[in-house]
Symmetry: C2
Subunit: 372 residues, 2 copies
């Protein structure tokens, strides 16, 4: 028998019988996808078919059960997309099911070598020993390259550790990718020369499927300090491929664009921790952006902290990464954020700084408040 890994699902059900029937359906659906009576005896039934390992009432009190189902490493076939498919491919389409937790196995850990840098690597790059990391975004779409580069310069001059593209900045005529990349790296470099700081510019990498990997390498060659990708758009293997590529050495920041349906419903998708934590670490993201609580999105404090814990938990292999809550961060909320997240966090703050009369001063005040 090959090693197995276990996925725990929330299964909405009125009683244990219904929950068991639904769980046994998941075990079929995610593996052989034929009626149980048609499953070939021997290897397919013994090894490939999912096995219901445990079923218990939901400890969180939702109307249902937690079902733990094990799958064979053989079923994954060394393919990361197939791992995701085994975890939740067809079952994603059945309402009242959620992936709560994803267990590991030798096969998964061999396939997913994880982030190259992790939070420790990001700290080293930024020269920040212990306190929170800070990231800002140049925006909005529609500004010229020189206007965006000027904002990048000021964020860096103000002491932000990472300055990223807004995730909507692609290759628009107002600021083509290659032009913006060069201008922003130069602008951040000029600011670093003045401050002695080590701010990194983080371009948004997107584009045709045939170009996205090359564009990440173009960013590296140009002197970017990291890249940002939205895995729900580019495809989940793009991050894994880059993180495992010996010729690509930059940290990867993941953006949650287009992934919302995977987490916001109580009735489908993933738990916050398994999606933004476990899955992104397996993928190889070094920092994971998600909407902070108390901002303009609806994540709760506990959901956000569960992501941060999953970013840091021991996974027997993949490095700890940094949770990067964004959206709705303000000066006033710094004490509340420090109390919630402690030091191992990267704050993404943009809009609140851009509303201040002097951007450089605003950044400096923020750095001081966060690191005091």
């Amino acid at each position: 028998m090959a090693p197995r890994f276990t996925v725990t699902y929330y299964v909405r059900a009125a009683d244990a019988d219904e929950a068991k029937a639904r769980a046994l359906d998941i075990a079929l659906e995610q593996t052989v996808e034929i009626p149980r009576g048609a499953v070939p005896k021997g290897y397919v039934e013994d090894e490939i078919l999912g096995k219901l390992e445990d079923l218990k009432p939901d400890p969180a009190g939702r109307p249902g059960f937690l079902a733990s189902i094990s799958y064979s490493d053989d079923d994954v076939g060394g393919d990361f997309l197939q791992l995701l498919n085994v975890i939740f491919g067809n079952s994603s389409i059945k309402p009242g099911l959620k992936v709560e937790d994803i267990g590991l196995s030798p096969g998964i850990l061999g396939l997913c070598t994880g982030p190259r840098h992790g939070i420790a690597g990001l700290r080293a790059r930024a020269g920040v020993g212990e306190g929170p990391l800070l990231m800002s975004a140049i925006k909005p779409v529609g500004l010229s390259t020189s206007e965006l580069a000027s904002r990048a310069h000021d964020f860096a001059l103000g002491g932000m550790h990472f300055v990223k593209d807004d995730h909507g900045l692609v290759d628009q005529v107002t600021s083509p990718f290659a032009e913006r990349l060069k201008a922003c790296i130069e602008a951040v470099g000029e600011a670093n020369a003045k401050t002695g700081g080590r701010t990194s510019f983080v371009p948004n990498v997107t584009g045709p499927a045939s170009a996205v990997l090359d564009r990440a390498k173009e960013a590296q060659a140009a002197g970017a300090g990291a890249v940002m990708l939205a895995p729900a758009l580019t495809g989940y293997d793009v991050v894994r491929t880059l993180a495992a590529d010996p010729d690509f050495t930059l940290p990867i920041v993941s953006h949650p664009a287009f992934s919302g349906a995977n987490v916001v419903s109580a009735d489908c998708g993933f738990s916050h921790r398994s999606f933004f934590g476990t899955l992104h670490r397996l993928m190889g993201a070094d920092a994971v952006i998600y909407p902070n609580f108390g901002g303009r999105f609806g994540f709760t404090r506990e959901e956000c902290l569960s992501i941060a814990r999953a970013c840091a938990a021991d996974m027997r292999g993949p490095k700890a990464i940094v949770a990067a809550p964004g959206g709705g961060m303000t000066f006033e909320r710094v004490p509340e954020m420090r109390e919630a997240y402690g030091n191992d966090v990267m704050y993404l703050i943009g809009g609140a700084l851009l509303q201040q009369p002097n951007l450089v001063d605003a950044c400096r005040r923020l750095v001081a408040a966060v690191h005091s």
Copy 2:
């Protein structure tokens, strides 16, 4: 001013004031992602910022409103992933919002040339003039290549028009991709030689981001009749890139694996028609697999028929494609399906055939029932 396209959202709200506030937030969130007061005057405000064009109570009676918001073609920047990001990137993370309909524009139609073949091309390939198309899947994972190829042969001998890999078949040791591809194309070819038929083999294309496009071309070179991809896993631009590549000429069948959260919740994601219909046509899929009503998934009859209508509606450019409902199709349901879908449909049927004592006979009876 550049041309604009309009996206219509369902916005959950208690009253018109709340709906308007939420809609104006979408217009910001999807474009400039900064507070309204910080939006630069001129081009950014006039052109890039989303515009609320219409707001009305939901005609379907849900507790909310329909908000139509227009976006500039300039914001898309010729990038398909950015188009998806403008449509629903960050707003996907806000509960109580759904993309109902996606409007078109010259920019979208220029970027998305659409499916190469469409339903007419699939019919021509299969030699089926008017009736429904039939597709089966070889499965389960864990069988050897020769066992799977034998099933492919029998499906073809029985007259199924398309025989595809199960979407869980990747590169497992029991049946490596290249070996299975060759064996199944040969097996289907042998059956075609016996029947004079034109059955196509449709391999499942997945793998590392650096290999997936090449694997599709490997399938073409080996003599496959189409390829299947799961865009929610591979990334949405992979289908578009292949459909637009002059060196790739096969039809593309899309599989819904991992996409479920985008449609199953009433509270987030997309309407069935906009996701499986409009979006897949813009992407360039020729056939779109989705779970049929009355099977083991929860789509309603009306949701399924809305997908079929969106596959066929006039889009002023992208060809009509074929809806491929799967899951739960049985002999007994043929009359019900014919009444619902008419002729322009591709039935995906597998498990029910594999449970019959003689697979070839079962296929022949199905073909006769569907085409009588």
